[in-house]
Symmetry: D2
Subunit: 280 residues, 4 copies
C-alpha cells in the first residue's frame, strides 16, 4: 500500500475503471480537477470506464447529469451500472409473468424493455400475486416504504419468485455529514425478514468488472494487469477490484477520507495497492 | 416433546405464563375457548401472567382491548410487556438529554413519565442532535418510515447515544395470510446500516421472565419447576422459556401451525416440552 | 462519558461488579494495585462480586488461582460465572438422557453433579446418539477440534437436543499480542453450519447480573442505582451492565486500551458512564 | 419449475454445466448411469463442463479419481474448480511475500506455481509474520485445527494481508447420514472472530461460470440461453446459475433429496427451472 499522486499512476496502466460517486463527483458537484484528469487520461491514449452501483437511470441520463456538473469526457458506452446487469439478467432469463418493481417510473423505463412488463409496487394489489413472476429492487424512491415493503414481504411469502436487487449499496451520501438509505438496505430488510438471499447485482461482485473487461477486449488486447480500479469505498470498489484481479487505488474524496483511511483498512482487512488524495 | 391436551397440563403447574398474540387471541379475535381456559386456571388456584412483546400500549389499554374481544380474566398487574422493560430501563438509567422515539403518541405517553421528555422523530430537526440523549424504537406506526429511518440513521452517525428497542419482534400477523413489519425489523435495519448492536428488550431475553417471576415471589414461594411458559413462537416464547429454565408448551394457533410444527422444531432445534393444539 | 480515577468512583456506589480477566488480572498476573483496591473497597464497607465468562473451573478453583497471583480478597461466594448459569440450567431442567460435553474433565466435574451424567465428546460414538439428551460447550481444551466438532455437527443433525453454550466469549488474550479462540467461537461455528441458535450463557445477557443482584438482596436492600459494573470489554461487560440498568466503568487494561478506546466506543455505539485507566 | 426426466432436457441445450459431488458421484461412488449419460451428451454433439467447489486437487487428479469410480468421459480441460480461480488470482496479482496455506501438501502443490512460495500453517512460526503477504484456505485437512486456526487468527491480527478462500463450501457429505466440515467453515470462523470479509472463490459467485463460458467461446459461438447448469445444491449450483443467467436443473441425488426438495425451494426462495430425479 503506497501513497501516490494519482497523476503518477495514470501512465502505469492501459485502462482505468473509475467509480463515479466519491471519485468523479460528490453531492457538491464535480471533484476539483476531475474533468481535466479524464482529459489527460484520454490524451495519454488510456481507456477508461465508469463502474457505478446505480439502477435509477440509463447511461444516457448519467452522461447528461455528469455534463451538467462539468464532466464532459464520459460517453454512454463508457458507463457500466449495476442496473445494466439487472437489465441483462431480466432480458436474458425468460421469466414468466410480470415484474413488480420498487423504484421510480424512470428507473423502470430503463430496466424493462417492453412497456407494461414492469408494475410499480404502488399499483400492485396483494390479491393479484398469480400473475407475478419476479420482483426487482430498483430505487429507494417512487413509493412509500411502509406500504411498499409490507406489500413485497407478503407477496414473497405467498409466492416464491426470483427477487433481483439492482443496486446493493446500503447508503449514499447526500451532504458532508448525512447519508440517505439506498435500495440495498431495503432489500436487506426484506431478506432478513424472510430469511432468504436475493439475486444481487453491483460491486463487489464480479459481473460489472467482467462486463467492462469483455467490452474492452473488443477494442484491443488487454490483460488484467493493464487495469487499475479507482474507488472511494473499500468493501465495494476495492474488494471487487482485488477479487477480479486488477490493481486498485483508493481515493479519499468520498466514503473514505484522509482521517479514517487507516482505521478503515486495518479494521476491514481490505488493502488497496495505492492510496491517493483525489483524482483531481 | 409430547403431544398433550392443554387442559391436562394445567394441574401439573402452579403458575402459567401465556404469550398473548397467537395464544390468547389472533387477528380474528379471541382463540375459541381461551376465556374459559383462563377461568379454569384461576378456579384451580393456579396463577398466570401474560408476557407479550409489545411497546405500543399500557397494560391498562391491553386489558381493555382483551376485554373487547371477550377475554375478561386478565388484570393490568397480570401483564408483562417488553415496553415495561424499556420503561424501567429509561426510568432507572439517568440518561442525559431528551429521547427521540419512533412510534405513536400513545406509545410515548406510556413509556415516558415526564411529559416532554420524549420527542417524536416527526418533530426532530436533524440539526438539533446536541440535546438528544437516547433513541427509542417503540412502534412501526406514527411516522413515515422513509423520513423517520433516514433521520435516525443520521442522528446516530452524528452522535453516539444509547438506542433502545422496546419490541424486538420482526413481524406480526394481520390476517390468515399476511403479516405486518414490526418495530424490531426497523431497528434491525438501522443496526445493520450502522454496524452497531442496540439494547433490545423482549422475549427470548430473560428480563421479562425474571420480572414476572420476581413478581410471583411477592405472593408466595415458587420455584422455576412450578412454571409453564405457553407460546406460539419457537425463537421467542419457547427459546426464552427454555433458557430461563421453565417448562414450555407450544400451541399451534399462531406462528406455528399443526402443518409446520415438525419442520419448525427440526430446523430450529428449539424443542418445547409439550405441543398442544390450542389452549381453548 | 467521563474520565475518572477509579478510586474516586468507589465511594459513589454501594456495590461493585468486577469482570476478572483484563480488570483484576491479565496473562502476566495481577493488575498492579488490584489487591489493594479490593481491600480498599471492602474497608469502605462496599460489597463486590466478580462476574466472569468462564466455564472451565469451579468458584473454589478460581479463588485459588487468583490467590496464586496475589489477589487474596475474593472468596468463592463472590464469584458468578457463566458456567454457574449453565450448571443451574442443567440442574433445574429435567433433561432426559446424558450430556455430551466439549471441554476438559475438570470443567465437566464442576458442571455435572452426578458422576457419569456427562460424557466427553472424545468418548462419544457417533452411533450412540439415542441415549443423548443435551450437548454442552464448556471449554476450548480437552478434545481435538477436528474430531470433536465434526462429531457434534453430525450428532445434532441426527437428533434435536438442547445445545448449551456455557461461555459465549469468542477469544481470550494469552499475551500482549496474541489471543486464543474460546468456546463461544466453537459453538458459533456449529450454529452457523446447522443454521440454529443455541442456548447461550454469559455477559452481555442478563442472567449473571440478575444472579449477582439477587444474591445481594439477601444481605440488605439495594437498588440498581447502587451498583457499578467494571469491565474491559464493551460488547460483554459494558453492554450487559447498561442493559441490566446499572452504571458502567470501562478500564483500559484489557481488550480496550487507552489507544483504541475512542474508536471502540464510536464504532460500537456502546458508551460506558466512566472511562478509567485501571482499577489499580 | 417443472419435473422432467434429465434425458428429455439434454437435447434442449448446446452446453451442460455439471456439478460433481451429488450429481456425477456420491460418497458411494458413481451415480447410477452417470457415465452413460455423459456419453449420450457427447454423442448428441453437446458440450459439457464440470464446475466444482474444490481446492484440494488438480484437474488431472480429479479426472483420475472420476475414472477410478467408472466415469471415463471427463478430461482435465472439462473441469473448472474454485481452486483454479484462487490459483488464477494468486498468479495474476503480484502479491508480495510468501503465502501461508491451510491444507494438504498436495493442494499447495497445485495452487502455488513456484516451489517454496507457499508455506504450510504447520511450518509457520508466529514471530515470522514480516515475510507473509497472503493467507490461503485450501482444505480442511493437512493441519491440526486447534493449532492452525489459532495461528491464522493471530497472524491476521498482527498484519493485514489478503486472505483467500479457495473453496467456500461449509460441509461435504461423507456418508448417507454424515457430513464433514469443509474449508469454507474454517474460513468463516476466522472471518467472524476478526469481523472481516475474505476473498471467496466458488459457486454461487460468477467467476467459475464466466471462466467456463469464456472457455466455450473459443470453440464456437454460444449464448447463455444455450447453457443448462445441473446441481444438487440450491444456494451454490442453482443460485449461481440463475445469477449468471443460464437455465438450471436441480437433481435429487445429493444435498437435496426427493423428500426435502419442496421445503428447500420454498424456504430459500431459490427456484430452479427443472427438477430431475437424477442424471442417470
Amino acid at each position: 500500500m503506497k501513497y501516490e499522486s494519482f497523476h503518477n499512476l495514470i501512465p502505469k496502466y492501459k485502462v482505468i475503471f473509475f467509480d463515479s460517486y466519491g471519485v468523479l463527483k460528490t453531492y457538491r458537484g464535480m471533484i476539483d480537477g476531475a474533468n481535466d484528469t479524464l482529459k489527460s487520461v484520454k490524451d495519454q491514449g488510456i481507456l477508461f470506464k465508469v463502474l457505478t452501483n446505480d439502477a435509477s437511470r440509463s447511461p444516457e441520463q448519467m452522461v447528461e447529469s455528469l455534463r451538467d456538473i462539468g464532466l464532459d469526457q464520459v460517453s454512454p458506452s463508457d458507463i457500466v451500472t449495476s442496473g445494466m446487469m439487472a437489465k441483462d439478467f431480466l432480458d436474458n432469463k425468460r421469466l414468466n409473468g410480470k415484474s413488480i418493481y420498487l423504484g421510480t417510473k424512470n428507473s423502470a423505463e430503463y430496466i424493462f424493455n417492453e412497456p407494461g412488463s414492469g408494475i410499480s409496487i404502488r399499483d400492485y394489489n396483494v390479491e393479484d400475486f398469480d400473475q407475478i413472476g419476479s420482483v426487482v429492487f430498483l430505487d429507494d424512491e417512487g413509493y412509500e416504504w411502509e406500504v411498499g415493503v409490507n406489500k413485497i414481504v407478503n407477496l414473497l411469502r405467498r409466492k416464491v419468485v426470483p427477487a433481483i436487487v439492482a443496486n446493493s449499496d446500503l447508503i449514499y451520501p447526500v451532504s458532508k455529514m448525512d447519508v440517505s438509505i439506498a435500495t440495498g438496505s431495503i432489500a436487506l430488510l426484506v431478506e432478513h425478514i424472510l430469511n432468504r438471499r436475493f439475486i444481487h447485482f453491483g460491486k463487489p461482485d464480479s459481473p460489472m468488472y467482467h462486463y467492462a473487461f469483455q467490452n474492452l477486449l473488443e477494442s484491443g488486447s488487454y490483460s488484467k494487469k493493464d487495469v487499475l480500479m479507482v474507488g472511494d469505498t473499500l468493501h465495494t470498489d476495492i474488494l471487487g477490484g482485488i477479487k477480479f484481479g486488477v490493481d486498485t487505488a483508493l481515493v479519499c474524496t468520498g466514503n473514505t477520507t484522509q482521517e479514517n483511511v487507516h482505521v478503515a483498512v486495518e479494521s476491514t482487512g481490505i488493502k488497496p495497492d495505492y492510496i491517493c488524495d483525489s483524482i483531481g
